[in-house]
């Protein structure tokens, strides 16, 4: 975010709150950036000549005679191929010791794609994780979050997904990342020799929380450059969107806005939608896929953050630890990829939809058997077999440490069905059973 010539400088601050500073100033544009004693701030309200700025780093220590410099425009990012392989902070400044980027300066949070120019997503994204590829297949241009409790290894899963997906660019938007997680991502990408495909915008827990509000827009502006200008397929990873939403609520609280559910701002849905809807399949072949993380508190998906997210994204991937097999699995009941219909059985083997549904149905039978068992009722032979199946299915298919090709997942599932059930119990079309029954 470069500074421009003819900067307007003011020094008469009239009001300071925890997050905002007001002053008299003229000829200021709505959304314009400013620095207050070197700290970045953005115009959020103008009434007559009174301008209110939201200070990203907080207002601690700002005196009433601080120098306020208006920078003449909204937050920007310089985009060019030089972004590849680099690490930046929330403001788009390099944090990897490398040089500044040369490139075209564009405003972040730019306009939306005209819906009639979008193409229907149709390219499958393979991750090797059967809980995803088999049951919740991802499609490029999709937006989907992991719903996970904070103690689950979502960042590891996401890093794996990113590296295995055949994306031209991977853009990490880290919000409230611990320094350890930040170093973890850096190391994993480095080890995979993938650094030149990766671009990161990182706000760690050491940075002021409000700064992270810029991270998604920074990441997506870089994504749009590669997807629109270079027709590349870009995968954007946003972690953790719950911390992003928390920052929104901090700001709206400090600005005395009326909160709606769970002390979130009333505009939460629109705020999140503006980010997630940047996922797109473009007419010239480029695409932006967004995989996010929304951490839950105690698995509660009715909280305003996961709830609004669910209404926006195209499904969700639910991580849960399965104590029977001692592994973290992708829960087949609560996970859903709404775009999978566009690819399964079309870009994958024809038996995919049927075997997927059959296995989940049988897994549900096991869940019923377990309830019966817990309520002290006798189990039938079928119940016993479905429980044994569930155990195998959980560790061989649903566990997040699985890494195989889609055909092998299908074969493995057939094998498990063959091991535990009779043909007539699986409810799969005759022709398919003939062809694939082990």
């Amino acid at each position: 975010m470069a500074t421009k010539a003819f900067q307007k400088i003011f020094t008469k601050i009239t009001q300071i709150t925890k997050a905002t500073v007001s002053l008299h100033a003229e000829d200021v544009g709505y959304g314009e950036l400013a620095t207050i004693q070197g700290q970045l701030a953005q115009v959020v309200k103008i009434i007559g000549n009174e301008v209110t700025l939201q200070v990203f780093g907080g207002t601690e220590g700002i005196p009433t005679n601080a120098e306020v410099v208006f920078l003449g425009g909204a937050p920007t990012l310089k985009v060019s191929d030089q972004l590849a392989g680099r690490f930046f902070n929330s403001f788009g400044k390099p944090i990897d010791g490398g040089p500044e980027i040369d490139g075209v300066e564009v405003e972040i949070g730019g306009p939306s794609v005209n819906p009639v120019r979008r193409k229907q997503p149709s390219e499958l994204i393979a991750t090797g994780i059967a809980g995803i590829d088999l049951n919740n297949t991802l499609v490029s241009g999709q937006k989907i979050p992991f719903f996970a409790d904070p103690d689950q290894p979502f960042n590891q899963v996401m890093a794996n997904v990113a590296l295995r997906a055949k994306a031209d660019k991977i853009i990490l938007g880290g919000m409230g990342l611990t320094n350890d997680d930040y170093l973890y991502f850096k190391q994993v990408f480095d080890n995979a020799g993938a650094l030149d495909r990766i671009i990161s915008f990182v706000n760690t827990t050491e940075n002021p929380p409000v700064e992270r509000l810029l991270v998604p827009d920074m990441a997506l502006t870089a994504a749009e450059y590669f997807a629109v200008e270079k027709n590349e397929s870009v995968l954007v990873l946003l972690t953790d969107m719950t911390l992003y939403a928390d920052a929104l609520s901090i700001v709206s609280n400090r600005m005395d806005q009326i909160p709606s559910k769970d002390s979130m701002p009333g505009s939460l849905y629109s705020d999140l939608a503006k980010i997630y809807e940047k996922a797109v399949q473009l007419p010239d072949g480029g695409s932006i896929t967004i995989i996010a993380v929304t951490t839950l508190s105690g698995g509660d998906i009715t909280h305003a953050i996961p709830d609004n997210t669910g209404y926006i994204t195209e499904g969700q991937l639910f991580l849960r630890s399965d104590s029977d097999v001692g592994k973290v699995i992708v829960d087949p009941f609560r996970s859903l990829s709404r775009l999978k219909q566009l690819v399964i059985g079309k870009k994958t083997r024809a038996d995919h939809p049927q075997i997927m549904n059959a296995a989940i149905r049988l897994y549900a039978d096991a869940a019923n058997a377990r309830t019966k068992m817990e309520n002290g009722f006798d189990l039938s032979n079928y119940d016993e077999r479905s429980l044994a199946f569930a155990k195998d299915y959980s560790s061989e298919i649903l566990a997040i440490d699985v890494n195989v090709g889609t055909n092998e997942m299908l074969d493995e599932t057939w094998k498990l069905l063959g091991k535990h059930f009779k043909k007539e119990e699986v409810g799969i079309r005759e022709e398919l059973v003939k062809e694939y029954w082990p």
């Binding site: 794609v113 819906p115 009333g266």
Partner: protein, 584 residues
């Protein structure tokens, strides 16, 4: 002369303007930023200060930017060429916009200026006419699109001349009318109307009573909606609101379908763009897109325009209704519209109602639903708008302001249930909590006994009772265990499962099962109820489930087969054989 003004304050998309003349509430204005003109609507006036909501991002706007008032409210342009169009919430033609990205301040004309339409006169010189009278018609995608006396005309007129049959553009003069003062006025094929005002040019609005076939069994059979009726579909995320609405808009027996994608996903609109030009209207065999207009104001498009989008869609619906057509309007999701109202109300620092929604939300919602209905036009011909909205309740909890307000306004309630969706029992409409008030109308009862038969409603009531009983029995089995209840209980439970799997559940993605015409629904209801009336005998409870699973499987195969085809009858025979094994 319309007023001018200057920007004096900006809070997100709420802008305060100082105006130099008279301003009307809801008047449109344009704010100039450099060479961009941003459209906005007046929402409050206090002294010289006019509060406007801007339909675009206000980034870069400055105090002192000039404002021109338009002298009218937000209007749509009505005329032939609306069908098959993709509009944004302000009726801009999205296809006419250049580039991949939407540009701020880019407004495009909604109709096609140069296109010629085949006109046939319906009125003749000397006729007395008034607003809404049909002067002639053009063929718009095989629909008789009426050219009407503009709705804003007051009083009566005498037709001086009407254009001869031939081909004309929308701006050609189609008729000259003489008013009571002897002045001549010209009428073209287009007219304008302010979207927030209902078009009430009709003789009367009787209670609606004709079944509107949707092809969805759990609606038509269990809780039917009628031509000119209202309904709403609340449900937590992912329970199937959009899939259900898309299904209804593909299959319903309507002449015109208007879809308002209001603050939802862009990819879902893309799905319509991709599918509708290919798919056929099951009633006419024409392409679905020919009868459809899409208003796309997706969640990433400006929030204030989202609020306008449902009104734009409703006004277009009213326009076609006044041609004597059956219009079906869908809005997905009305909660996003309510949220847009909430955002603005909060910025205006109005006293908040429940969940910070505006206090007058119930009134706004019920006024909107009241624009639907079945009418007799002034020429005696009927026309209708059937309106179905989705509601996205926060946290899936139906005790929230939008659901509760809508429940008071809409006559059909289709509650999507999380557990049904989790169990893949689609469509996930809860058959017991949901209702259709039309079932209580004697007019409807009379109509349906003629359209289907006079025992139909009794049969459906019995079916609902069986579903209710099945639910009770299943709760008891859960508490007492399989062998803690008599075999009879198991049979009762499984009979309700047959109803659920065969009548209620329907595969929206299967070509045949997706749409069930009413005669086929009647056939299957008879089949299932016959079965429910039979007595079965089993040695033990363990036989009941597997047996009925076979029965269900065969009946579902019937659902998946072409009606009355060989395949269909083969499964029916198979069913007969299975039944003879256990029926006493």
């Amino acid at each position: 002369m319309a007023a001018k003004g200057k920007v004096v304050g900006i809070i997100s998309n709420l802008v305060v303007v100082e105006a130099d003349g008279a301003i009307a509430q809801n008047e449109i204005c344009f704010i100039h930023i450099g060479d961009e003109r941003l459209m906005a609507e007046v929402i409050k006036v206090i002294g010289k200060n006019v509060y406007v909501q801007v339909y675009e991002s206000t980034r870069g706007m400055k105090v002192g930017n000039t404002v021109e008032f338009a002298g009218h409210m937000l209007e749509v342009t009505l005329g032939p060429g609306i069908l098959s169009k993709n509009y944004d919430g302000l009726q801009n033609d999205l296809d006419k916009m250049e580039g991949v990205f939407l540009k701020r301040g880019d407004y495009t004309f909604p109709l096609d200026k140069g296109k010629k339409w085949d006109f046939k006169p319906l009125a003749k010189a000397g006729d007395t006419v008034e607003a809404g009278s049909w002067l002639g018609e053009v063929d718009e995608n095989f629909q008789p699109h009426k050219i009407m006396v503009p709705f804003v005309f007051e009083g009566t007129y005498t037709v001086k001349s009407v254009a001869e049959a031939g081909s004309y553009t929308i701006d050609d003069v189609m008729a000259v009318l003489t008013n009571s003062k002897g002045e001549d006025v010209q009428v073209t094929m287009t007219q304008k109307w302010p979207v927030k005002k209902a078009i009430t040019i009709y003789k009367d609005k009787p209670r609606p009573f004709k079944l509107l076939e949707t092809g969805v069994r759990t609606i038509d059979t269990i809780n039917p909606i009628v031509e000119g009726g209202t309904g709403f579909i609340p449900g937590p995320f992912g329970t199937g609101k959009t899939v259900l609405q898309h299904g209804i808009s593909k299959q319903a027996e309507a002449d015109i379908v208007v879809i308002a994608a209001c603050g939802e996903r862009a990819n879902e609109v893309v799905e319509i763009f991709t599918e509708f030009p290919e798919l056929e209207d099951p009633h006419t065999g024409r392409k679905l897109m020919e009868r459809t207009t899409i208003i796309a104001n997706t969640s990433n498009m400006p929030v204030a325009a989202r609020e306008a989008s449902v009104y734009t869609a409703m006004t277009i619906s009213e326009y076609y209704r006044n041609m004597g057509l059956r219009v079906l309007m869908m809005a997905d999701s009305t909660s996003r519209w309510a949220q847009a109202l909430r955002e603005m109300s909060n910025r205006l620092e109005e006293l908040p109602g429940p969940d910070a929604f505006p206090v007058d939300l119930p009134a706004i919602i019920s006024n909107f639903y009241a624009r639907a209905g079945y009418v007799n036009l002034n020429n005696g011909k009927p026309g209708s708008i059937t309106f179905i909205g989705t509601v996205s309740p926060a946290g899936g909890n139906l005790k929230e302001p939008v659901t509760e307000s809508t429940k008071k306004a809409a006559r059909c309630f289709y509650a999507l249930q999380q557990s049904r969706a989790d169990g893949k029992r689609y469509p996930a409409i809860n058959p017991i909590d949901s209702y259709s008030k039309y079932l209580e109308y004697p007019e409807f009862e009379e109509y349906i006994s003629e359209r289907i038969n006079d025992q139909w409603l009794d049969k459906i009531n019995e079916m609902k009772t069986l579903l209710q009983r099945g639910l009770e029995v299943s709760e008891q089995i859960n508490i007492l265990g399989d062998d803690g209840v008599s075999v009879d209980y198991h049979v009762r439970f499984w009979k309700s499962e047959v109803i659920d799997f065969v009548i209620l559940q329907q595969d929206a993605f299967d070509e045949i099962d997706a749409v069930t015409p009413i005669d086929r629904q009647e056939y299957m209801v008879d089949k299932v109820m016959d079965l429910c009336h039979k007595d079965f005998s089993f040695e033990s409870f363990a036989e009941v489930g597997p047996y009925f699973k076979r029965v269900i499987n065969t009946l579902r195969q019937m659902n998946y087969s072409e009606f009355k085809s060989d395949r269909f009858y083969n499964y029916e025979k198979e069913l007969q054989e299975t039944l003879s094994e256990a029926v006493v």
